[in-house]
Amino acid sequence: MPKTPPDLRRPGVSRRGFLQGSSVVAGSLGIAAGAAQAQDSMPSAEARTITMNVNGKVRSLSVEPRTTLVEALRDTLGMTGTKIGCNQGQCGACTVLLNGMRVNSCLTLAVMAEGAEVVTVEGLADPNGDLHPMQAAFAENDAFQCGYCTPGQIMSAIACIDEGHAGDEAEIREYMSGNLCRCGAYPNIVAAIVQVRDSQQG
């Protein structure tokens, strides 16, 4: 593709922009309002304000299109519980729940999370300080050594049970394969998940 310097698509220069621009000129007030809204979706590299519900609180923040969700959480919102490991979707350290589903926040563009509900490790414990059962189980089972992968492991472990993929240890290992632990705490991570699964069934 041509490598032109990033003037980067000011609104109104594309075929679509031209057509929509025409309708604004010709249109009544009502049509103009509709077209103005459509302009928000026109290609632009400028920072924009997005709104997300993060751990139960509505947050508005300004992000560039190239800002990833984990960068927005850590750098813009100052929530450093979510870690950056490989930054390529291979290690799972950045795992958060996005609309209830575990995702790699390093591969998610923050602009694409507009309007989403995000849960990070900071959102798990009760406001009174009681740990989430998965956090408590990780502590009880020594499911970490250095702890760097742990926030991602815990988010992923909660989702693993919620998705119904914690049937036996083999299934847990398969469905936790997106979270790497270089300390090798895997047996204890599996034990923590089994403990929480059994306590929820009991």
Binding site: L8, R16, P43, P65, L107, M112, E163, R173
Partner: protein, 332 residues
């Protein structure tokens, strides 16, 4: 990541118009796109986010056809009991790919268009890559590591492997894709979507600028119900295929009436093993005939020094997949 313009249109025609502009890429789940942008392999001037086209998330398993909107998620489809019942190989091919986190965002349309994992394509420190930089040469063929390269369909310009799993279930069972582009809507047999590298490995599909895959559909055929996707890889989970096979069988007593075989991890494009299928039709399916089918599937392979292992491994995988599919029928 370099700066890029971003848009999130809410109609397919707007998305198609935006995507037709030079230097534009489409993003859906983003698991390939964001990764390749971070490592500098792709530097689009603009991204068109098509996840606002919510209608494309729908899918259905009907009596005559399965239809998947291009934005259906890998995890959703893999876990759907109706899919698992009607076409187990399709579910297998999805859940045996990537990781749970990736499958929760990766879409079926993006999955079929995923890019090669060739290390020389992905590492811009290598100047030679005809796919990334047309005319620059091929670092793999110029003395590189070739363990994860194609043994079918490669050319003197490129031996990159198509890495996908899902595509093998599609190509073996006569899938079609529907697209919408500046020229309107069209239907493309899945087997014709990807093109061999030839002299122009940077051209990977027949899709035109601005053409968006909107749907993937399959006719329901009896061999789907007795199907299996076997995947051999360097670790047990979350790895690309070293060799894989999507197979399905329909038996008439002890005789094979229909059989489908496609090969993953070995070819430049999704790869159907027609000769191996023909060797089984009209005869029995036994350990012996399954092994022979595996041998035939790889008889025309053109391995490189590092990829020769794929012939024996792939033949074993074909035979193993066929016998697993048969055992799942409750046969002998």
């Amino acid at each position: 990541m370099k700066r890029f313009a971003y848009s999130r249109p809410t109609s397919v025609s707007d998305a198609s118009d935006d995507a037709a502009e030079d230097g534009t890429q489409i993003i859906a789940g983003g698991t390939t796109m964001v990764d390749l942008m971070k490592i500098g392999v792709l530097e689009p001037e603009a991204l068109v986010d098509i996840t606002g086209l919510r209608d494309l998330e729908r899918y259905e398993v009907g009596a005559d056809r399965m239809r998947f909107g291009a934005l259906a998620k890998m995890s959703t489809v893999a876990d759907d009991p109706a899919v698992i019942d009607a076409f187990p190989a399709l579910s297998d091919s999805l859940w045996k790919a990537a990781s749970p986190q990736l499958r929760n965002v990766a879409t079926l349309g993006g999955n079929i268009l995923q890019r090669t994992r060739c290390p020389y394509f992905r590492d811009t420190a290598y100047a030679q890559c005809n796919k990334r930089n047309p005319g620059s040469g091929c670092a793999a063929l110029d003395g590189g590591e070739t363990g994860m390269h194609a043994i079918f369909g490669g050319s003197d310009a490129c031996v990159a492997m198509y890495p996908g799993d899902f595509a093998q279930a599609l190509v073996a069972f006569d899938a079609e894709v529907t697209t919408r582009g500046p020229g309107g809507t069209r239907s493309i047999p899945f087997a014709d979507l990807h093109v061999l590298p030839g002299d122009d490995p940077h051209i990977e599909t027949v899709l035109e600028p601005g053409e968006i895959v909107t749907e993937i559909a399959l006719p329901m055929i009896p061999a789907m119900r007795n199907s299996f996707y076997m995947k051999a890889r360097n670790r047990e989970s979350y790895a690309f295929a070293a060799a894989s096979a999507a197979v399905g069988i329909e038996m008439d007593g002890d005789t094979v009436r229909d059989v489908r075989i496609a090969l993953g991890g070995v070819a430049a494009t999704p790869w159907r093993a027609t000769a191996a299928e023909e060797s089984l039709k009209g005869g029995p399916l036994t350990e012996e005939t399954a092994r022979e089918a595996g041998r035939i599937a790889f008889q025309d392979a053109e391995p490189l020094e590092g990829s020769a292992y794929k012939i024996e491994l792939g033949a074993d995988v074909v035979a193993g997949a066929l016998m697993t599919a048969k055992s799942r029928m409750g046969g002998e």
